[in-house]
Amino acid sequence: MAVIEVMDLRKRYGDLTVLDGVSFSVEEGEIFGILGPNGAGKTTAVECVEGLRRPDGGSIRVLGLDPVGNRRALCEQVGVQLQHTQLPDNLKVWEALDLYASFYPKPGDWRELLVEWGLQDKRDTRFGKLSGGQKQRLFIALALVGNPRVAFLDELTTGLDPQARRATWALIKRIRATGVTVVLVSHFMDEVEELCDRAAIFDQGRIVALDTPAGIVDEIDADHEMRFTLMAGELADLTDLTGLPGVARVTRTGDRVVVTGRGDFATAVTAQLARHHVLVSDLRIDKRTLDDAFVALTGRPLE
Protein backbone atom coordinates (compact mmCIF):
# COMPACT_ATOMS: atom_id res chain seq x y z
CA MET A 1 0.00 0.00 0.00
CA ALA A 2 1.28 3.46 -0.87
CA VAL A 3 1.50 5.70 2.20
CA ILE A 4 2.57 8.73 0.17
CA GLU A 5 1.28 9.57 -3.28
CA VAL A 6 2.55 12.66 -5.05
CA MET A 7 1.20 13.55 -8.48
CA ASP A 8 2.55 16.31 -10.72
CA LEU A 9 3.72 18.50 -7.85
CA ARG A 10 4.59 22.07 -8.87
CA LYS A 11 6.05 24.97 -6.92
CA ARG A 12 7.45 28.32 -8.01
CA TYR A 13 9.05 31.14 -6.06
CA GLY A 14 8.59 34.18 -8.25
CA ASP A 15 10.33 33.41 -11.54
CA LEU A 16 12.15 30.41 -10.15
CA THR A 17 10.57 27.02 -10.79
CA VAL A 18 11.56 24.85 -7.84
CA LEU A 19 9.37 21.83 -8.60
CA ASP A 20 8.34 21.14 -12.16
CA GLY A 21 5.89 18.24 -12.20
CA VAL A 22 7.21 15.78 -9.63
CA SER A 23 5.43 12.45 -9.12
CA PHE A 24 6.37 9.57 -6.88
CA SER A 25 4.86 7.20 -4.37
CA VAL A 26 6.26 5.66 -1.21
CA GLU A 27 5.21 2.18 -0.11
CA GLU A 28 4.50 1.22 3.46
CA GLY A 29 7.56 0.10 5.39
CA GLU A 30 10.24 1.14 2.92
CA ILE A 31 13.08 3.59 3.23
CA PHE A 32 12.58 5.96 0.34
CA GLY A 33 15.46 8.22 -0.65
CA ILE A 34 15.15 11.68 -2.13
CA LEU A 35 18.51 12.44 -3.62
CA GLY A 36 20.02 15.30 -5.54
CA PRO A 37 22.31 18.30 -5.36
CA ASN A 38 21.53 21.34 -3.24
CA GLY A 39 18.81 23.39 -4.88
CA ALA A 40 17.32 20.46 -6.79
CA GLY A 41 13.99 20.87 -4.98
CA LYS A 42 14.31 17.94 -2.56
CA THR A 43 13.54 19.83 0.62
CA THR A 44 10.75 21.84 -1.00
CA ALA A 45 9.12 18.61 -2.20
CA VAL A 46 9.34 17.02 1.24
CA GLU A 47 8.08 20.16 2.94
CA CYS A 48 5.05 20.17 0.65
CA VAL A 49 4.42 16.54 1.61
CA GLU A 50 4.78 17.45 5.31
CA GLY A 51 2.29 20.30 4.86
CA LEU A 52 4.83 23.00 5.71
CA ARG A 53 4.55 24.49 2.23
CA ARG A 54 1.56 24.87 -0.02
CA PRO A 55 2.20 23.60 -3.54
CA ASP A 56 1.15 25.62 -6.59
CA GLY A 57 -0.15 22.56 -8.38
CA GLY A 58 -0.51 18.80 -8.27
CA SER A 59 -1.93 16.53 -5.62
CA ILE A 60 -0.47 14.98 -2.49
CA ARG A 61 -1.90 12.25 -0.27
CA VAL A 62 -0.12 11.11 2.85
CA LEU A 63 -1.81 8.20 4.66
CA GLY A 64 -4.84 9.13 2.58
CA LEU A 65 -4.83 12.69 3.95
CA ASP A 66 -4.32 16.06 2.29
CA PRO A 67 -1.29 17.65 4.03
CA VAL A 68 -2.79 21.16 3.85
CA GLY A 69 -6.48 20.39 4.48
CA ASN A 70 -5.99 17.65 7.09
CA ARG A 71 -2.91 19.17 8.65
CA ARG A 72 -3.65 18.29 12.24
CA ALA A 73 -4.72 14.69 11.62
CA LEU A 74 -1.58 14.20 9.56
CA CYS A 75 0.73 15.79 12.14
CA GLU A 76 -0.42 13.18 14.65
CA GLN A 77 0.82 10.36 12.42
CA VAL A 78 4.09 11.66 10.99
CA GLY A 79 7.40 12.46 12.63
CA VAL A 80 9.72 15.07 11.17
CA GLN A 81 13.38 15.88 11.50
CA LEU A 82 14.06 19.19 9.79
CA GLN A 83 17.24 20.60 8.38
CA HIS A 84 18.82 23.45 10.39
CA THR A 85 16.60 23.26 13.45
CA GLN A 86 17.86 23.56 17.00
CA LEU A 87 16.37 23.39 20.45
CA PRO A 88 16.88 25.93 23.24
CA ASP A 89 20.46 25.43 24.52
CA ASN A 90 19.31 25.13 28.10
CA LEU A 91 16.68 22.47 27.46
CA LYS A 92 17.67 19.07 28.87
CA VAL A 93 17.40 15.93 26.75
CA TRP A 94 14.65 14.34 28.84
CA GLU A 95 12.68 17.59 28.96
CA ALA A 96 12.69 17.84 25.17
CA LEU A 97 11.46 14.25 24.79
CA ASP A 98 8.87 14.60 27.53
CA LEU A 99 7.56 17.87 26.04
CA TYR A 100 7.32 16.56 22.49
CA ALA A 101 5.70 13.33 23.68
CA SER A 102 2.96 15.44 25.30
CA PHE A 103 2.11 16.95 21.90
CA TYR A 104 0.83 13.63 20.51
CA PRO A 105 -2.35 11.67 21.30
CA LYS A 106 -0.61 8.28 21.48
CA PRO A 107 3.05 8.93 22.18
CA GLY A 108 5.68 6.24 22.61
CA ASP A 109 7.54 5.85 25.87
CA TRP A 110 10.31 8.43 25.65
CA ARG A 111 12.34 6.58 28.30
CA GLU A 112 12.60 3.62 25.94
CA LEU A 113 13.64 5.91 23.09
CA LEU A 114 16.32 7.37 25.35
CA VAL A 115 17.83 3.91 25.83
CA GLU A 116 17.29 2.84 22.23
CA TRP A 117 19.07 5.88 20.84
CA GLY A 118 21.94 5.67 23.29
CA LEU A 119 21.06 8.86 25.12
CA GLN A 120 20.37 7.51 28.60
CA ASP A 121 23.70 8.88 29.87
CA LYS A 122 22.74 12.27 28.43
CA ARG A 123 19.29 12.33 30.01
CA ASP A 124 20.03 15.41 32.11
CA THR A 125 22.44 17.06 29.67
CA ARG A 126 21.43 20.37 28.15
CA PHE A 127 20.97 20.51 24.38
CA GLY A 128 23.78 23.05 23.98
CA LYS A 129 26.28 20.62 25.52
CA LEU A 130 25.53 17.69 23.19
CA SER A 131 27.88 16.66 20.36
CA GLY A 132 26.69 16.82 16.75
CA GLY A 133 25.97 13.10 16.68
CA GLN A 134 24.08 13.21 19.98
CA LYS A 135 21.97 16.15 18.78
CA GLN A 136 21.17 14.23 15.62
CA ARG A 137 20.14 11.15 17.63
CA LEU A 138 17.94 13.34 19.81
CA PHE A 139 16.27 14.81 16.73
CA ILE A 140 15.57 11.33 15.40
CA ALA A 141 14.17 10.30 18.78
CA LEU A 142 11.97 13.45 18.75
CA ALA A 143 10.75 12.55 15.26
CA LEU A 144 9.75 9.11 16.58
CA VAL A 145 8.35 10.05 19.98
CA GLY A 146 4.80 10.49 18.66
CA ASN A 147 4.72 6.88 17.38
CA PRO A 148 4.53 8.00 13.75
CA ARG A 149 3.66 5.81 10.78
CA VAL A 150 5.91 7.87 8.53
CA ALA A 151 9.17 9.56 9.50
CA PHE A 152 10.81 12.29 7.41
CA LEU A 153 14.53 12.73 7.92
CA ASP A 154 16.15 15.67 6.11
CA GLU A 155 19.94 15.76 5.60
CA LEU A 156 20.41 13.62 8.62
CA THR A 157 24.15 13.12 8.52
CA THR A 158 25.32 16.46 7.12
CA GLY A 159 28.09 17.75 9.35
CA LEU A 160 28.75 14.44 11.06
CA ASP A 161 32.13 12.70 10.99
CA PRO A 162 32.32 9.38 9.07
CA GLN A 163 32.08 7.29 12.21
CA ALA A 164 28.98 9.08 13.47
CA ARG A 165 27.44 8.81 10.00
CA ARG A 166 27.87 5.04 9.95
CA ALA A 167 26.44 4.78 13.45
CA THR A 168 23.43 6.84 12.36
CA TRP A 169 22.90 4.59 9.34
CA ALA A 170 22.67 1.55 11.60
CA LEU A 171 20.01 3.35 13.63
CA ILE A 172 17.96 4.24 10.54
CA LYS A 173 17.84 0.56 9.59
CA ARG A 174 16.42 -0.10 13.04
CA ILE A 175 13.58 2.35 12.40
CA ARG A 176 12.54 0.40 9.33
CA ALA A 177 12.64 -2.82 11.37
CA THR A 178 9.87 -1.36 13.55
CA GLY A 179 7.64 -0.96 10.50
CA VAL A 180 7.85 2.82 10.22
CA THR A 181 8.06 4.14 6.66
CA VAL A 182 11.07 6.43 6.30
CA VAL A 183 11.57 9.23 3.78
CA LEU A 184 15.23 10.17 3.71
CA VAL A 185 16.39 13.38 2.04
CA SER A 186 20.08 13.36 1.26
CA HIS A 187 22.74 14.68 -1.05
CA PHE A 188 25.05 11.80 -0.20
CA MET A 189 25.02 9.01 -2.76
CA ASP A 190 26.64 6.48 -0.44
CA GLU A 191 24.00 7.10 2.19
CA VAL A 192 21.18 6.39 -0.24
CA GLU A 193 22.93 3.31 -1.65
CA GLU A 194 23.42 1.97 1.86
CA LEU A 195 19.99 2.66 3.29
CA CYS A 196 17.27 3.09 0.72
CA ASP A 197 14.98 0.47 -0.77
CA ARG A 198 14.12 2.89 -3.54
CA ALA A 199 15.22 6.40 -4.39
CA ALA A 200 14.21 9.30 -6.57
CA ILE A 201 17.00 11.41 -8.03
CA PHE A 202 16.04 15.07 -8.24
CA ASP A 203 17.66 17.54 -10.57
CA GLN A 204 16.46 21.06 -11.29
CA GLY A 205 12.98 20.46 -9.96
CA ARG A 206 12.37 17.17 -11.75
CA ILE A 207 12.83 13.51 -10.99
CA VAL A 208 15.41 12.12 -13.40
CA ALA A 209 15.42 8.54 -12.08
CA LEU A 210 13.30 6.51 -9.70
CA ASP A 211 14.15 2.92 -8.85
CA THR A 212 16.15 0.83 -6.41
CA PRO A 213 19.69 2.21 -6.07
CA ALA A 214 21.01 -0.85 -7.95
CA GLY A 215 18.30 -0.43 -10.59
CA ILE A 216 19.25 3.21 -11.15
CA VAL A 217 22.88 2.22 -11.58
CA ASP A 218 22.02 -0.63 -13.95
CA GLU A 219 19.85 1.54 -16.13
CA ILE A 220 22.59 3.95 -17.04
CA ASP A 221 23.97 3.17 -20.43
CA ALA A 222 27.69 3.62 -20.00
CA ASP A 223 30.72 1.43 -20.53
CA HIS A 224 32.67 0.11 -17.64
CA GLU A 225 35.74 -2.00 -17.34
CA MET A 226 36.87 -5.33 -16.00
CA ARG A 227 40.61 -5.95 -15.62
CA PHE A 228 42.62 -9.04 -14.82
CA THR A 229 46.07 -10.57 -15.21
CA LEU A 230 46.51 -13.94 -16.92
CA MET A 231 48.46 -16.26 -14.68
CA ALA A 232 51.73 -17.59 -16.09
CA GLY A 233 51.56 -20.79 -18.08
CA GLU A 234 47.95 -20.33 -19.15
CA LEU A 235 47.02 -19.48 -22.68
CA ALA A 236 43.67 -17.89 -23.29
CA ASP A 237 41.71 -17.69 -26.51
CA LEU A 238 40.62 -14.11 -26.07
CA THR A 239 38.55 -13.99 -29.23
CA ASP A 240 36.04 -16.05 -27.30
CA LEU A 241 35.39 -13.11 -25.00
CA THR A 242 34.59 -10.56 -27.69
CA GLY A 243 31.47 -12.42 -28.73
CA LEU A 244 29.94 -12.44 -25.26
CA PRO A 245 26.77 -10.38 -24.66
CA GLY A 246 27.57 -6.84 -23.49
CA VAL A 247 31.29 -7.00 -24.26
CA ALA A 248 32.43 -4.18 -26.52
CA ARG A 249 36.20 -4.50 -26.59
CA VAL A 250 39.00 -6.69 -25.33
CA THR A 251 42.55 -5.37 -25.15
CA ARG A 252 45.64 -7.22 -24.03
CA THR A 253 48.99 -5.80 -23.00
CA GLY A 254 51.30 -8.64 -22.04
CA ASP A 255 49.45 -10.61 -19.37
CA ARG A 256 47.21 -7.69 -18.53
CA VAL A 257 43.69 -7.85 -20.02
CA VAL A 258 41.02 -5.13 -20.04
CA VAL A 259 37.45 -6.00 -21.07
CA THR A 260 35.13 -3.06 -21.76
CA GLY A 261 31.37 -3.45 -21.95
CA ARG A 262 27.89 -2.61 -20.77
CA GLY A 263 25.43 -4.26 -18.44
CA ASP A 264 26.31 -7.37 -16.49
CA PHE A 265 28.98 -8.67 -18.88
CA ALA A 266 31.40 -9.51 -16.08
CA THR A 267 29.45 -12.62 -15.09
CA ALA A 268 29.58 -13.94 -18.66
CA VAL A 269 33.31 -13.22 -18.88
CA THR A 270 34.16 -15.03 -15.65
CA ALA A 271 32.01 -18.02 -16.71
CA GLN A 272 33.79 -18.18 -20.04
CA LEU A 273 37.21 -18.01 -18.38
CA ALA A 274 36.21 -20.83 -16.05
CA ARG A 275 34.96 -22.94 -18.95
CA HIS A 276 38.35 -22.62 -20.68
CA HIS A 277 40.17 -23.36 -17.42
CA VAL A 278 41.88 -19.99 -17.55
CA LEU A 279 43.22 -18.86 -14.22
CA VAL A 280 43.42 -15.14 -13.65
CA SER A 281 44.63 -13.02 -10.78
CA ASP A 282 44.21 -9.41 -9.73
CA LEU A 283 40.62 -9.33 -11.00
CA ARG A 284 38.97 -5.96 -10.76
CA ILE A 285 35.57 -4.73 -11.88
CA ASP A 286 34.89 -1.01 -11.81
CA LYS A 287 31.88 -0.82 -9.59
CA ARG A 288 29.59 1.87 -10.83
CA THR A 289 27.86 3.89 -8.18
CA LEU A 290 25.00 6.31 -7.94
CA ASP A 291 27.59 9.03 -8.49
CA ASP A 292 28.23 7.64 -11.98
CA ALA A 293 24.50 7.33 -12.49
CA PHE A 294 24.07 10.96 -11.56
CA VAL A 295 26.72 12.05 -14.05
CA ALA A 296 25.14 9.90 -16.76
CA LEU A 297 21.67 11.27 -16.03
CA THR A 298 22.48 14.95 -15.68
CA GLY A 299 25.75 15.37 -17.54
CA ARG A 300 27.57 16.79 -14.53
CA PRO A 301 28.90 15.48 -11.25
CA LEU A 302 27.14 15.90 -7.95
CA GLU A 303 29.15 18.53 -6.11
Binding site: G51, L52, E76, L82, H84, N90, E95, L99, Y104, G146
Partner: protein, 234 residues
Protein backbone atom coordinates in the same frame (compact mmCIF):
# COMPACT_ATOMS: atom_id res chain seq x y z
CA UNK B 1 -4.78 22.83 28.50
CA UNK B 2 -2.49 20.03 29.68
CA UNK B 3 -0.13 20.87 26.83
CA UNK B 4 -0.18 24.58 27.70
CA UNK B 5 0.71 23.72 31.31
CA UNK B 6 3.55 21.50 30.15
CA UNK B 7 4.84 24.23 27.85
CA UNK B 8 4.59 26.73 30.68
CA UNK B 9 6.56 24.48 33.06
CA UNK B 10 9.30 23.96 30.48
CA UNK B 11 9.46 27.66 29.60
CA UNK B 12 9.66 28.63 33.30
CA UNK B 13 12.59 26.24 33.71
CA UNK B 14 14.30 27.75 30.66
CA UNK B 15 13.70 31.26 31.97
CA UNK B 16 15.29 30.44 35.32
CA UNK B 17 18.32 29.08 33.45
CA UNK B 18 18.64 32.29 31.44
CA UNK B 19 21.00 34.82 33.05
CA UNK B 20 19.29 37.67 31.16
CA UNK B 21 16.11 37.09 33.12
CA UNK B 22 17.91 37.54 36.42
CA UNK B 23 19.42 40.82 35.19
CA UNK B 24 16.08 42.30 34.24
CA UNK B 25 15.08 41.58 37.82
CA UNK B 26 18.26 42.87 39.45
CA UNK B 27 18.89 46.08 37.46
CA UNK B 28 15.74 47.96 38.55
CA UNK B 29 16.16 46.63 42.08
CA UNK B 30 19.74 47.91 42.16
CA UNK B 31 18.65 51.35 40.91
CA UNK B 32 15.84 51.45 43.45
CA UNK B 33 18.11 50.60 46.37
CA UNK B 34 20.99 52.90 45.33
CA UNK B 35 18.82 55.96 44.77
CA UNK B 36 16.30 54.92 47.38
CA UNK B 37 18.61 55.80 50.26
CA UNK B 38 18.32 59.52 49.46
CA UNK B 39 14.58 59.85 48.85
CA UNK B 40 12.18 61.75 51.03
CA UNK B 41 9.59 59.65 52.87
CA UNK B 42 6.44 59.53 50.75
CA UNK B 43 8.36 59.87 47.47
CA UNK B 44 6.20 59.33 44.36
CA UNK B 45 8.91 59.56 41.69
CA UNK B 46 11.52 56.86 42.20
CA UNK B 47 9.30 53.78 42.42
CA UNK B 48 7.33 54.52 39.21
CA UNK B 49 10.71 55.04 37.52
CA UNK B 50 11.99 51.66 38.73
CA UNK B 51 8.76 49.98 37.61
CA UNK B 52 9.07 51.57 34.15
CA UNK B 53 12.68 50.38 33.91
CA UNK B 54 11.65 46.84 34.89
CA UNK B 55 8.80 46.63 32.37
CA UNK B 56 10.93 48.34 29.72
CA UNK B 57 13.72 45.77 30.11
CA UNK B 58 11.35 42.81 29.91
CA UNK B 59 9.42 44.25 26.95
CA UNK B 60 12.32 45.62 24.92
CA UNK B 61 15.04 43.15 25.75
CA UNK B 62 13.90 39.79 27.09
CA UNK B 63 10.68 39.27 25.11
CA UNK B 64 11.96 40.08 21.60
CA UNK B 65 15.28 38.29 22.12
CA UNK B 66 13.55 35.10 23.26
CA UNK B 67 10.97 35.07 20.47
CA UNK B 68 13.41 35.97 17.69
CA UNK B 69 15.80 33.27 18.93
CA UNK B 70 13.00 30.70 18.86
CA UNK B 71 12.28 31.56 15.27
CA UNK B 72 15.96 31.74 14.29
CA UNK B 73 16.68 28.29 15.72
CA UNK B 74 13.72 26.78 13.86
CA UNK B 75 11.96 25.93 17.13
CA UNK B 76 8.68 27.45 15.93
CA UNK B 77 9.02 25.70 12.60
CA UNK B 78 9.83 22.35 14.18
CA UNK B 79 6.80 22.72 16.40
CA UNK B 80 4.54 23.40 13.43
CA UNK B 81 5.20 19.81 12.28
CA UNK B 82 3.61 18.50 15.50
CA UNK B 83 -0.11 18.49 16.32
CA UNK B 84 0.50 21.57 18.52
CA UNK B 85 0.54 24.98 16.79
CA UNK B 86 3.59 27.16 17.57
CA UNK B 87 1.21 30.04 18.40
CA UNK B 88 0.71 28.22 21.71
CA UNK B 89 4.39 28.63 22.48
CA UNK B 90 4.23 32.35 21.70
CA UNK B 91 1.20 32.76 23.94
CA UNK B 92 2.94 30.94 26.79
CA UNK B 93 6.06 33.09 26.34
CA UNK B 94 4.13 36.38 26.39
CA UNK B 95 2.21 35.31 29.50
CA UNK B 96 5.37 34.19 31.18
CA UNK B 97 7.16 37.47 30.48
CA UNK B 98 4.11 39.27 31.85
CA UNK B 99 4.35 37.18 35.01
CA UNK B 100 8.05 38.01 35.21
CA UNK B 101 7.32 41.74 34.86
CA UNK B 102 4.63 41.48 37.54
CA UNK B 103 6.92 39.55 39.87
CA UNK B 104 9.72 42.09 39.44
CA UNK B 105 7.31 44.96 40.11
CA UNK B 106 5.87 43.20 43.16
CA UNK B 107 9.40 42.78 44.50
CA UNK B 108 10.24 46.43 43.81
CA UNK B 109 7.05 47.63 45.52
CA UNK B 110 7.68 45.42 48.53
CA UNK B 111 11.25 46.65 48.94
CA UNK B 112 10.24 50.29 48.38
CA UNK B 113 7.29 50.09 50.74
CA UNK B 114 9.05 48.32 53.59
CA UNK B 115 12.76 49.13 53.54
CA UNK B 116 12.71 52.51 51.81
CA UNK B 117 9.45 53.82 53.19
CA UNK B 118 8.34 55.10 49.78
CA UNK B 119 4.75 56.04 49.24
CA UNK B 120 2.39 53.30 48.04
CA UNK B 121 -0.79 54.22 46.17
CA UNK B 122 -4.21 53.36 47.56
CA UNK B 123 -6.20 53.24 44.32
CA UNK B 124 -5.36 49.66 43.33
CA UNK B 125 -7.73 49.66 40.33
CA UNK B 126 -6.05 52.69 38.75
CA UNK B 127 -2.63 51.18 39.34
CA UNK B 128 -3.72 47.94 37.66
CA UNK B 129 -5.21 49.71 34.61
CA UNK B 130 -2.18 51.97 34.11
CA UNK B 131 0.23 49.10 34.64
CA UNK B 132 -1.53 46.82 32.18
CA UNK B 133 -1.83 49.49 29.49
CA UNK B 134 1.83 50.47 29.91
CA UNK B 135 2.98 46.87 29.86
CA UNK B 136 0.79 46.26 26.83
CA UNK B 137 2.47 49.15 25.00
CA UNK B 138 6.00 48.01 25.91
CA UNK B 139 5.27 44.36 25.03
CA UNK B 140 3.82 45.50 21.70
CA UNK B 141 7.12 47.23 20.89
CA UNK B 142 8.93 44.03 21.92
CA UNK B 143 6.69 41.92 19.66
CA UNK B 144 7.35 44.30 16.77
CA UNK B 145 11.11 43.92 17.28
CA UNK B 146 10.65 40.12 17.39
CA UNK B 147 8.60 40.27 14.20
CA UNK B 148 11.11 42.33 12.23
CA UNK B 149 14.49 41.14 13.56
CA UNK B 150 16.18 38.47 11.50
CA UNK B 151 17.62 36.67 14.49
CA UNK B 152 18.07 36.73 18.25
CA UNK B 153 21.22 38.85 18.14
CA UNK B 154 19.61 41.52 15.99
CA UNK B 155 16.56 41.54 18.26
CA UNK B 156 18.82 41.90 21.27
CA UNK B 157 20.78 44.74 19.63
CA UNK B 158 17.68 46.60 18.48
CA UNK B 159 16.10 46.18 21.92
CA UNK B 160 19.14 47.63 23.71
CA UNK B 161 19.50 50.38 21.10
CA UNK B 162 15.87 51.41 21.50
CA UNK B 163 15.95 51.11 25.27
CA UNK B 164 18.39 53.94 25.96
CA UNK B 165 16.74 56.74 23.93
CA UNK B 166 13.34 55.58 25.14
CA UNK B 167 14.52 55.51 28.73
CA UNK B 168 16.06 58.98 28.33
CA UNK B 169 12.91 60.47 26.78
CA UNK B 170 10.82 58.80 29.47
CA UNK B 171 12.83 60.56 32.15
CA UNK B 172 14.42 57.40 33.48
CA UNK B 173 17.99 58.71 33.08
CA UNK B 174 17.37 62.08 34.68
CA UNK B 175 14.23 63.66 36.13
CA UNK B 176 12.07 65.30 33.46
CA UNK B 177 12.31 68.77 35.07
CA UNK B 178 16.07 68.75 34.38
CA UNK B 179 15.57 67.79 30.74
CA UNK B 180 15.17 70.24 27.84
CA UNK B 181 11.48 71.10 27.86
CA UNK B 182 10.85 70.01 24.30
CA UNK B 183 12.37 66.57 24.86
CA UNK B 184 10.46 66.12 28.09
CA UNK B 185 7.28 67.05 26.26
CA UNK B 186 7.98 64.57 23.44
CA UNK B 187 8.92 61.96 26.02
CA UNK B 188 5.46 62.07 27.55
CA UNK B 189 4.06 60.61 24.35
CA UNK B 190 6.53 57.77 24.00
CA UNK B 191 5.32 54.37 25.28
CA UNK B 192 7.78 54.28 28.16
CA UNK B 193 7.34 57.99 28.99
CA UNK B 194 3.56 57.77 29.05
CA UNK B 195 3.85 54.70 31.25
CA UNK B 196 6.19 56.37 33.76
CA UNK B 197 4.13 59.55 33.80
CA UNK B 198 0.89 57.59 34.28
CA UNK B 199 2.37 55.54 37.10
CA UNK B 200 3.69 58.74 38.73
CA UNK B 201 0.19 60.19 38.64
CA UNK B 202 -1.48 57.15 40.22
CA UNK B 203 1.30 57.03 42.81
CA UNK B 204 0.49 60.60 43.78
CA UNK B 205 -3.14 59.46 44.10
CA UNK B 206 -4.33 61.64 41.25
CA UNK B 207 -6.41 60.25 38.41
CA UNK B 208 -4.10 59.37 35.53
CA UNK B 209 -4.56 61.65 32.55
CA UNK B 210 -6.95 60.06 30.04
CA UNK B 211 -4.66 61.31 27.27
CA UNK B 212 -1.74 59.27 28.65
CA UNK B 213 -3.87 56.17 29.05
CA UNK B 214 -5.22 56.69 25.54
CA UNK B 215 -1.68 57.04 24.19
CA UNK B 216 -0.67 53.77 25.88
CA UNK B 217 -3.74 51.92 24.62
CA UNK B 218 -3.16 53.22 21.09
CA UNK B 219 0.46 52.05 21.15
CA UNK B 220 -0.54 48.64 22.52
CA UNK B 221 -3.18 48.05 19.85
CA UNK B 222 -1.55 49.52 16.75
CA UNK B 223 1.98 48.26 17.35
CA UNK B 224 0.81 44.72 18.16
CA UNK B 225 -1.34 44.75 15.02
CA UNK B 226 1.70 45.73 12.93
CA UNK B 227 3.77 43.05 14.72
CA UNK B 228 1.13 40.40 14.01
CA UNK B 229 1.01 41.52 10.37
CA UNK B 230 4.77 41.15 9.87
CA UNK B 231 5.50 38.25 12.18
CA UNK B 232 7.13 35.35 10.37
CA UNK B 233 7.19 31.81 11.69
CA UNK B 234 10.40 30.95 9.90
Amino acid sequence: MKIMMKLAVVEVKLLTREPGAIFTLLIPLFILVVFGSSIEPGDTVLLPMALAIAVGLVGLYLLPTTLATYRERGILRRMSTTPVRPANLLAVQVLLQLVLALTTCALLITVAGTVLDARLPTAVGRVAVTFLLGTGAMFAVGLLIAALARNGRTANGVGVLLYFPMAYLAGLMQPTDQMPQLLARIGEYTPLGAFRQGMHQVWADTTPSPVLLGVLAAYAVTISAVAARYFRWE
